[in-house]
């Protein structure tokens, strides 16, 4: 037998066998390799394609908002209340003001409670079972649909008072802010190095003062970030306001009356049959989106800067 055949590459193929007896260039291996590479390419293409498909709606939505809403953003929009049906020239000033009031109530109620709960979890509750339970409950609360929060606020405030009100809307939104703020406050406080707490305690500073002037002060950029995120999230919420704040076609600054809110007004206008109202809905959405995007971007910048400053 001509054994040299085993050691010389067969005509037509370049790479010789690495192991006599195992042909690394066999047809099966080559087909398999080609199949694997093809699969690899396919997946790469699919992954890029999905990303494009995902980014597309975002760009489409933003473009649409800009296109449909920008020309309506005149002075009227920001200063006038909605005009009677059929008339031109109304605005959403009352909705913007109303949102401001409801969000202010929500912040006044939700931010202190959220931060305090976060302080408890980080500074007093470490390792305790109660803290774990609170943490778990906060996460559960985060997942509750916003419309259910609306039902709860309805029960708590609207039923007792007998009418819809800004206060009820504020309570509904506050309840949504609390779990988010609690968790971010806790996480930010956990990044404060224990060494500086010890430094303060070692100087004879009482614990409560240490928490306020050292822990909270050091973590404050992150905590503020968390509050802004929670704020941005509830600023766009409509469902909980449907039967708490209820909406109002006119100016209202009283806490005990139904009040307009931007997302609520957008909803009402969007499903209405009037073109004029549709136009306002687009404009209002543009305003809402811009506010939220600004907050999210600010948060990103502030967080990046604040992290480096506070944690050094």
């Amino acid at each position: 037998m001509n054994t040299s055949a085993l050691h010389t590459p067969p005509p037509g193929r370049d790479d010789g066998p690495l192991h006599p007896g195992l042909n690394m260039n066999s047809r099966w291996i080559r087909i398999n390799r080609a199949r694997r590479y093809a699969a690899n390419h396919l997946v790469t293409v699919l992954a890029i394609a999905s990303t494009v498909v995902v980014i597309l709606p975002l760009i489409a939505i933003l473009a649409y908002l800009l296109f449909m809403g920008a020309h309506s953003l005149n002075l009227n929009f920001f200063t006038k209340i909605p005009a009677p049906v059929g008339e031109q020239g109304g605005g959403m000033a009352n909705a913007i003001a109303g949102s401001g009031i409801v969000l202010a109530i929500a912040s006044v109620l939700g931010i202190p409670i959220g931060i305090a709960a976060g302080v408890y979890l980080a500074e007093f509750g470490r390792g305790r079972m109660l803290a774990a339970a609170v943490r778990f409950t906060a996460d559960v609360l985060n997942g509750v649909p916003s419309i259910v929060m609306g039902i709860a606020a309805y029960s708590l405030v609207v039923v007792k008072q007998g009418h819809f009100s800004a206060l009820a809307g504020g309570v509904a939104l506050a309840v949504m802010m609390v779990p988010t703020i609690t968790r971010t406050t806790e996480e930010m406080l956990a990044t404060v190095p224990n060494a500086i707490r010890e430094a303060a305690l070692g100087l004879g500073v009482p614990k409560w003062r240490t928490v306020l002037s050292v822990s909270l002060k050091t973590a404050s950029p992150g905590i503020i970030t968390g509050c802004m995120l929670a704020f941005a999230r509830v600023a766009g919420e409509t469902a909980p306001l449907l039967f708490t704040a209820f909406g109002n076609q006119f100016w209202s600054f009283k806490l005990n009356e139904p009040i307009a809110a931007l997302p609520l007004q957008i909803y009402v206008y969007a499903i209405s049959p009037y073109d004029e109202w549709h136009r306002l809905a687009w404009a209002g959405s543009l305003v809402l989106i811009v506010l939220i995007m600004v907050s999210v971007t600010l948060v990103r910048i502030y967080a990046a800067r604040g992290m480096m400053k506070g944690a050094s």
């Binding site: 470490r126 390792g127 190095p193 060494a195 500086i196 010890e198 430094a199 303060a200 305690l201 070692g202 100087l203 004879g204 500073v205 009482p206 003062r209 240490t210 002037s213 050292v214 002060k217 050091t218 404050s220 400053k309 506070g310 944690a311 050094s312």
Partner: protein, 252 residues
């Protein structure tokens, strides 16, 4: 001026671990005492028991009597009150990152409500001078943050911060171990100067440092204070064989 510290039958636990076993020692006033021993043998725990910092850990416990200036710090006083009379400097410098140098040094006073600006200014200057840091930072007191200094400067600032509250005792847990040799020697000089005014207890891994700086030395091993005597004696003629083994480098 400093006060003396009497320790009787001090035992300490971290959870189930018995970290300090029946420590009895008298640390003299206005002297520097060094505590030496291998890692993890209880030196830091002992020092933290002297200002009740041990208690800040929820699973920590201590029994026994520690008297400072005649007062039983566990029975007759609150931890916060004790810590205002006992200064502590930690292994790694821990300045408050959100405060300026001035605020850092004055923090022991400001965070306790002291408002008199003139006295604060004087105190900050005096403390920084005592810590041999004044010349380097006097122009940037309020402009620079405490965390922007170098490691050695930060540690000296922490010492100034501890001194600003005019303590009677100064506890130092390996204050120079994280620093470069130049800073270390500066700090050792410092301690040498300070010991005439305060009672100093310094934990150190560095036996030469103990020898340079302290009049008395205690040797810790596995939670017990094996020997306590004048530095000279410990290093030249220790009574206990274990001390001798450690000193001569046979272990640790």
């Amino acid at each position: 001026m400093g006060v003396g510290i009497d320790v009787e039958h001090l035992n300490a636990w971290y959870g189930q671990t018995h970290t300090l076993q029946d420590i009895n020692v008298k640390l003299p006033a206005n002297h520097a005492t060094a505590l030496i021993g291998p890692s993890g043998c209880g030196k830091s725990t002992f020092v933290r028991c002297l200002n009740r910092m041990h208690e800040t850990n929820p699973i920590a416990r201590a029994t026994g009597v520690v008297k400072m200036g005649g007062i039983d710090i566990y029975k007759d006083a609150e931890p916060v009150q004790i810590r205002r009379r006992v200064g502590m400097v930690f292994q790694r410098p821990n300045p408050f990152p959100t405060m300026s140098i001035y605020d850092n040094v004055a923090s022991g006073l400001k965070l306790n409500g002291f408002r008199n600006k003139k006295v604060l200014d004087e105190t900050v200057e005096r403390s920084l001078k005592s810590a041999a840091l004044w010349e380097e930072v006097k122009d940037d007191l309020k402009k620079k943050s405490g965390a922007s200094l170098s490691g050695g400067q930060q540690q000296r600032m922490c010492i100034a911060r501890a001194l600003a509250v005019d303590p009677e005792v100064l506890l130092m847990d390996e204050p120079a171990s994280a620093l470069d040799p130049v800073s270390t020697s500066k700090i050792e000089d410092l301690i040498f100067q300070l010991k005439s005014q305060y009672t100093i207890v310094i934990v150190t891994h560095n036996m030469q440092q103990a020898a340079r700086v302290a009049e008395n030395t205690g040797f810790f091993l596995n939670g017990k204070m094996v020997e306590f005597d004048s530095t000279h004696k410990i290093f030249t003629n220790p009574k206990d064989k274990r001390t001798e083994d450690y000193i001569t480098g046979r272990f640790g």
